[in-house]
């Protein structure tokens, strides 16, 4: 019973983190048909930004509570700036090319960003443990959980709700859904598709950076952290169905909880279980759980 609870809560924490990363990736793909391989690097940029702000802020001795708002804001701001730079500087020149070609372009962006991170922040690990420790722990039927981790679940729920509300209950969301449904018709109807693209990429980048920024206090921020993330995030979105936010949610819950179960029951299978689930789902539903098969065009 206790073990089950631990698995469930650990799984939810991990799922929340996965969802934050995967939501941005799947949103960008849904709207722009671009699988952004540099998404993990944007996540790393967010993590570095928040780790350095935390390091600086907690050394000054100002009230720690304001630190949370500050490091989350800084992660978002860096994500936004990096996203705009990438979209305006590189991606807009390759719109309309093959999906694979654009994948290679984002791979080039990934290579550039990975070294840019090393040039800006160096190759040593950053630690930003203060916000994580300051929140303390809560005991749930005798098992202590870090409050910071529990708060992460709340943040993921909030972000998920905002995304759902933005997409389904606002005018801009309606425009976005129109573009997801059919890009050419939307253009013909007078929707400013380039502006929608720019905005989507910026939102996706902010989501990646928030995920990185929030996770930074609970681990060490090191070069190369973005790559594992993009591989796992891809597994999540492809399990749920590429381009679907609901799919990202389902995928992250499925994979997050199974991974937590693996960590407690068969620790060697921690990474393997993620891909076993992905392969199983894909063997039954090749397009993922939430996406219908594409119609074939001659």
């Amino acid at each position: 019973m206790k073990l089950l609870l631990v698995i469930l809560i650990d799984g939810l924490v991990y799922s929340s983190w996965l969802f934050l990363v995967a939501a941005g990736l799947t949103l960008i793909y849904g709207v722009m048909r671009i699988l952004n391989m540099a998404h993990g690097s944007l996540y790393a940029v967010g993590a570095y930004a928040s780790a350095s702000v935390v390091g600086w802020y907690y050394a000054t001795g100002y009230p720690p509570a304001a630190g949370y708002a500050l490091f989350i804001f800084c992660a978002m701001a860096t994500g936004l700036i990096a996203g705009i730079l990438i979209e305006r500087g590189i991606l807009r020149f390759v719109y309309g090319k093959d999906e694979v070609i654009i994948l290679l372009v984002t791979y080039a962006v990934l290579l550039i960003l990975e070294d840019a991170i090393k040039l800006i922040w160096g190759v040593d690990a950053y630690f930003a443990i203060q916000p994580y420790k300051a929140l303390g722990r809560t005991s749930i039927i005798g098992v202590p959980f870090a409050n910071y981790d529990l708060a992460l679940i709340a943040v993921a729920v909030l972000v998920g709700f905002l995304l759902w509300y933005g997409l389904n209950r606002t005018r801009h969301g309606k425009l976005l859904r129109a573009v997801i449904h059919d890009r050419e018709i939307s253009m013909a109807m007078g929707i400013n598709v380039p502006a929608i693209f720019a905005a989507t990429f910026a939102i996706g980048s902010i989501l990646a950076a928030i995920a990185g920024g929030l996770i930074a206090p609970s681990l060490s921020v090191v070069p190369g952290m973005g790559i594992e993330v993009i591989v796992i995030a891809f597994a999540v979105v492809v399990t749920g169905g590429l381009g679907s936010i609901g799919g990202a949610l389902l995928g992250s819950l499925l994979i997050g909880i199974s991974r937590a179960a693996a960590v407690h029951l068969i620790p060697q299978g921690e990474v393997l279980v993620i891909f076993v689930i992905m392969a199983t789902v894909l063997a039954v539903r090749p397009e993922g759980i939430f996406v219908r098969a594409k119609e074939r065009k001659i």
Binding site: E114, I227, L272, I298
Partner: protein, 321 residues
């Protein structure tokens, strides 16, 4: 095919014979560099086989690593150091692994194929890193090979291993050239251009992609085995995404319209890499990124298209993308 005789095979023979002869007079560091780039070019040829069918694999490191570890494990645990035997074993293993994974992958194209191959190689990477019996993240040393029963201590290893590599790569490039000009080779181009037409013609795109995935895997594992003997060491880096990514880069750099393109690009890449990593280790990937962008935007058919443009007879090769 009315554009004159195909002189590729005589030219390949000439080129590789010269390389083989040069091996005996080149300084050791140069012949090592050539050996490494030739071994790696096998992986790139595999990438090119897939690219001609419109598929980009970000996970050839998987097979590269399998090949390398086959040499290492055969030598350390079973005492098998004969290079012809280990090459056969790694071919068998890669056919098996590729045949199994290919069952899932042959349903996917484009970005799905790219990302799933990446996932496969990252699984192998994490399995090896977490497994101390496979050497963990340090890997292990590979005992020096025997070549057809002759101990390398007797026949100078600095000469014989590059020679073997050279011969293997020569044989592979002749075979692959023939393959490109065969029905199955052109079937790949047809899959890239229009898969449904291929089906209407009575061929199965899935089977074509499946066979090409296995072929590319076999080539990569041969490359991995050779590189393991060349460097005398294997580690999980062989399966890491940067390794696979470099192969994709070299494939794009050379272009896909001729089998010699990946070989030439691979040598060029290795030379640049050894200087760049010395001079500026922290901007090497950034440099790769910028060059990759330039290639995609301005030279989508790779360096080979520059060579082809100089020779008007080769213009308009129908297999170029």
């Amino acid at each position: 095919m009315s554009r004159g005789k195909d002189r590729t095979i005589p030219l390949l023979t000439l080129g590789f014979s010269l390389l083989l002869a040069a091996n005996f007079v080149m300084p050791r560091w140069l012949s090592f560099l050539v050996m490494v780039s030739l071994a790696r070019s096998l992986v790139v040829i595999g990438i090119v086989v897939l690219m001609r069918s419109g598929l980009v694999s970000f996970g050839q490191g998987f097979f590269y690593c399998l090949g390398g570890y086959t040499a290492g494990i055969a030598g350390n645990y079973f005492g098998i150091t004969d290079i012809s035997l280990t090459l056969l074993i790694s071919i068998a293993i890669s056919v098996l692994a590729g045949g199994l994974i290919g069952l899932l992958l042959c349903n996917y194209r484009e970005i799905f194929f790219a990302m799933l191959t990446l996932a496969v190689s990252m699984i192998l990477y994490s399995v090896i890193v977490k497994n101390p019996t496979l050497g963990g993240s340090d890997g292990f040393n590979v005992p020096p090979p025997h070549i057809f029963g002759i101990s390398p201590a007797m026949a100078d290893p600095g000469l014989s291993l590059p020679a073997v590599t050279c011969i293997v790569v020569y044989l592979v490039s002749v075979l692959i050239h023939r393959y490109f000009k065969s029905g199955l080779g052109y079937a790949g181009v047809a899959v890239r251009l229009n898969e449904i037409r291929v089906e209407y013609l009575g061929a199965s795109p899935k089977v074509i992609v499946y066979s090409k995935y296995i072929l590319a895997g076999v080539l990569a594992s041969i490359g991995g085995t050779l590189i393991a003997y060349a460097t005398g060491h294997v580690d999980p880096e062989l399966a890491y995404w940067t390794t696979s990514g470099e192969f994709v880069f070299v494939g794009l750099l050379g272009g896909v319209s001729h089998v010699a393109a990946p070989v030439i690009a691979s040598v060029l890449f290795q030379v640049l890499r050894s200087y760049a990593l010395d001079l500026a280790p922290y901007v090497w990937q950034m440099l790769l990124g910028f060059v990759l962008l330039m290639i995609i935007l301005f030279l989508p058919e790779g360096l080979w298209s520059v060579i082809a443009r100089l020779n008007p007879k080769r213009r308009g090769d129908e297999s170029a993308p």
